[in-house]
């Protein structure tokens, strides 16, 4: 499992709708805002890259010092962004694919308004389990 990993889902309006610190490292106060900063800045790169390829998994798009941002863009232009320090591309890809399945299930919920915050605790536990499995 990665030492530091921050997973975030960004809606098509560039608003984070789900955030999870999934790293095994102890969570620090500054880390949360730093991760947000890096991921937020990486959106610019994603914006460039997303339209150059037909693949959903954009691999590592950006890095900040030793932290790498991997991104997966769904068809609805929701972006799954993972900030990590490990180099396990296959694992990250599988992680994203499985999270997308979970995300689709969330979308299928008629009470969920697309683009609103994902508050489902079930989703949260599943994502964390996937993070433990793949990252």
């Amino acid at each position: 499992m990665a030492n530091t990993a921050c997973f975030i889902i960004v809606s098509r309006n560039d608003i984070p709708i789900y955030e999870a610190e999934v790293g095994s490292a102890m969570k620090k106060e500054e880390a949360a805002q730093q991760h947000q900063f890096i991921l937020h800045a990486a959106l610019d790169i994603v914006e460039d890259l997303a339209w150059t390829t037909s693949a959903m998994f954009l691999k590592a798009v950006d890095k900040f010092n030793d932290l790498v941002v991997s991104v997966y863009v769904t068809a609805g232009h929701t972006r799954f962004m993972l900030l990590h320090d490990s180099r396990n591309e296959d694992g990250i890809k599988s992680f994203f694919q499985e999270v997308q399945e979970l995300y689709i299930k969330i979308l299928l919920n008629p009470l969920y308004l697309p683009g609103s915050r994902i508050t489902s605790s079930h989703f949260d536990t599943k994502v964390r389990a996937l993070a433990r499995k793949y990252l």
């Binding site: 608003i15 984070p16 106060e29 805002q33 947000q36 900063f37 937020h40 800045a41 990486a42 914006e47």
Partner: protein, 1284 residues
Amino acid sequence: MDPLRSYLGRLLQEEITPVIMVLSTPLVEDACQTNGLNFIELLLPFSVFNKINVPVRTASDQPYRLQMFKLRLAYASDIHLQNYEAAEEHLKKVVLDASQKTLTDLISEPPQLENLLKNSESDLCPSWIETFNKELIRTLSFSEHETFDHPVACLLVVSSKDEQPINRFVDILNTNQLPSLLSDGVMDPKVLKHYLLLHDNQDGSPEKITSILAEMRNTYGSNCKLLCINSAQSANGNGKDIQWMPYGSHVLRNDDIACFLSTDDINAVRDFMLDLSSNYVIPHVEQKIRILNQQVAATRKGFRNQIKNLWWRKGKEDTPETANGPIYTFSSIESQIRVLADYAFMLRDYELALSNYRLLSTDYKLDKAWKRYAGVQEMTGLCYFMLDQSRKDSEYCMESAFTTYLKIGSSSQRNASRCGLWWAEMLKARGQFKDAANIYFRISNEEPSLLAAVMLEQASYCYLLSSPPMLRKYGFHLVLAGNRYYMSDQRHHAIRAYRNALFVYKQNGWTYISDHVHYNVGRWYSFIGILDVAVKHMLEVLACSHQSLATQNMFLNDFFHIVQSMGKKFEVYKLRLPVINMASLKVLYEDFRTYASPSDVHVSESLWQSLEEELVPSASTGRSNWLDSQIKSSSSKRNDESPVCVAGESVVVDLEFINPLQVSISVSEISLICELMAKSKEPDTGSASHTAPEEDSELKDSPSCRDSNSDGSFTLSKLDVVLGGGETKRIQLEVSPKIEGLLKISGVRWTLSDIVVGYQYFEFDSKNKEKKGRRARRSLSHNLSFIVIKGLPKLDACIQHLPKKVYAGDLRLLLLELHNQSEFSVKNIKMKISHPRYLIPGNMEDLEMDFPECLEKQKSSGSKETPANVMLKFKNLLFSFPDDATIQGGTNFTWPLWFHAGLSGRISLYISIYYEVASCSSDMKYRILRMHHDLEVLPSLDVSFQISPCESSLEEYFVRMDILNRTKSETFSLNQLSCVGNLWEILALPESLSMQPVQTLLAGQALSCFFKLKDCRKVINTEGEVTLQGSDLLMISHSCKEAMIDVSRSPLAEFHQHERFHQGKSAKGDSSIVDFILISKMQGNGPVFEPGMQPKLLSYHACHCSISSRCPLSWQMNGPRMINHDFSGSFCEANFHLRIHSCSDAAVIIRLTTYDTLPEKNQSSDGVKLSDSAENEGGWHDISLVNDMKVLSSVHGNRPKKSSVDTLSPFVWCATSSTKLKLEPLCTTEISLKICLFAAGTYDLSNYELHWEVKPLEEGIAGVSSSGTVHGHPFYLTVLHAPR
């Protein structure tokens, strides 16, 4: 883009130029100082030639013209590498100077995206950053591994005042002021020397000078010059238009600069410099290039030389690797190549420079002279750029230079930065902004915080310039820069960086980011003393529920600290702490509808309205008829959109306050913001639209500015609460107007921790309003305005001792207490209760007696008229208080209420009290007081009755009462069983038969009791009027002195009526139905009831207990039981009568059939039928009795069966074998029967059958047409032989 015209091109042309070393005497400097300048500063403005236009020929034969040229001037003492600390100090000063200028910007509004993108490239980046970059590069001048800073020429200046000026020239050359690089042998000491004699015209005429000059020319040759300055007699402004001051000068700018220079002087200086550069420096460099080129070609060019070189260098491989590599003196071939390349670069012969740099780079690489190698790579990259050749190559060279510098370590870190700057500029010139930003970022990683900050800031501008602009990267890098600025104590710059980034993070969602930015900006503003802006930013972070507890605490404390240091109460519009849930806004006010307690308001309006339908005048319920004309004209209808409230009575606003933090906060002085326009000021139209336009402007004001309560026309409640972490509190705020007019509730204000005042106005959009009006049962009009009308009386009411939890059957007396607060009196009081089964109004007399006794049977039965009264009340749920019941102002009024818990479960009681205002002058004629109580009725005793006809008597029935105590802990004593109405009489069974009288029933105990019920229906009364006389049976032992409870009197009788009504099934005829009332007392006081009270009285009403079984008949055989007969004579005849009684309401057709032989199989069918019917009855939960009955019947039937078998047909029926007759309802008839007996013995005369058929009362009514067959009851006749 032409690289020469790019910024980097210009930069290189300015920075990589020949250096002229200046050696001057102190007197020279003194002469210059009169102008406020030193000697170099005097020359500096003229060292740049934009259009020099001189022909140049370097290694190739083809000459070209040089346009722009510049000379760099430096004192010999300055020609050395600056040490690190000094350089650092110098750069810090540059940044600090810039920060002074930014102070004014910080107070203005932060930039917005649109404005930012409109700015051109040059405006975007603050100009001081360019200066900073130049200064950074300059700090690296005169390094040993590069030669372009090595002086090309040496300018020796001596003043004419010096003694022996000729010798002075030699002196200054020989002093050890010369740079160490020269003495180390790195620089070529044989440089071009130029001699200048400086003459100050104020010292006298220049006659003497010419002789000195002539002498100089004799000694040093032709390159001797004379320069005269300070010709102007007094200060003039000739030099004003010239940019004298280079950056970083130690002299302060003032008007004295160049004041003594005449136009001639300036022109002389200009001419001198032009002469120096075009006639001496450039030719010298040209010549040097040509010489060196020849040398290099001779030693290094050509195949042979290359092989030799390679072989020679291989031999040096074993030399230890040092950081700087081997030391190269100026005479070494490597240094010469480098000089050649640099000179070529200075004269813009980039081809020549490039070829030499490349040649050199392999040498240095082989020698592992990494620093030199990097320097050469750097220059190679720049050459590529200037030639606008392969981008890839140039980038490769810069990259390798950059990484090589970094690899060497800290000593050449700054070189790496310089290289990076050039590289980034190169990329910028080519439009590769993103890559440039990356380079800046890489530089920032290696540099101390201040430099890193500047680099990061430049990186951010690069992101902004890239297309499309990468705003988030821009913001991020600005924040990083700001952070570094802050770390290096540059607060102004830090704030500038953060606030420039603010607009990027305007969008919500990225909470941690916006918190960080706002918090830091706020904090830093407070450090520099701009508190109002600081508070503005701090407000943004207050609702930081996602942060940890420690962070929340820190945010709050800092915020309070800043506000406190402002030293005044601070009012904030829409303060985000605590959060106010505007959707929870509810307004409670009382117009003609008043409420006993606030909780009553939440009952839906329709429920009240249906309850009050008969109570209020019809107009208010929406029905219009000819009567309501006067109500329509009343002023309460005048203004439909504004609700009405009464002066002196409070309007309550219900709001939810939410603390989003984990820290508990104290909120004090919560109150409403109101406005009350007195009636006189109110515009005639009274419409809200009139005041609407000014409303918007008012909303921006703080409430303290528009506090209109100075005249005390209304009072506001003030509340203090402490909201714990994550707590939500519903707070009720009151405003009570004192005068008539128009009350407007516009918002709410509160004080957070006694420091900050927050206020918020209520805003409604139309959609929201619509919804609220429906749900909160009040149509909230725009901006919550009320018409305040004159004070009215208002009743308060409470029901005393109304319990929350009772056991079913509980009967008690309650007191309704009405209180009139106002000074007016009210009249015409009426009341309506939603559930008369539970609560009925009593009589005034009930008050005079104690509770249990008043129910007891009185000797004088003077209450005969009550039943009629009861019936009247039952039909009309409306209860009018006596006409004389007026409540004067300030007085109390009590009225008894009877409470009876009829059914277990939860019940809500609604009570509406209507009253009219005695003085009719008011706007409102009547008001309604609404009360609402919820109570829970627990199950106590289950009582059920089963009635079966008695076989021995036609008028008597057996009553079985089953009681189950369903409570957990209570013990009940059974007091009295009454049956209602005078048609029936309940009797105890004879003592011998009945079981021991049970007095108490423990929790969970079940009990069955048997009674006898006597039919007293004398007359057939088809009207079925139930008179409530009843008969009572005291169940407890007679030793105990307990009075009978009179069930025929007011409360019990009425409750009984309601019970009858509610328990009513399909009532099929009144007469065959019995109602029972069981009265019990609770023995032990359980935990739910208050102790010390006398035993509770409970009454249970079982109504509609039918006496009829399936058979509508009861019959009885009458006749002799024993006959003595002498059978020797004749057979015996016996006469019998069968009395048949119809229990049915309808006529019954009966057919009696007698059998001489009784079929065996039918023997016990009667018993079976009985048990069947018993099982079909409801309310039986114990079937043991059925079994008993079977046993009973079989016991009874056993003997006769045997006897009948023994004596087959011992008797015969004579007379008619079948009789058919019609029996009118409730009639009795007799049929005569006769038998003949032939022997003595005991006979069972039960072998007859009764067929019955019930006819419907009228033809055409489909219904109860039924028929059946029953067997006879056993009747034993004993015949004895009595011989005569």
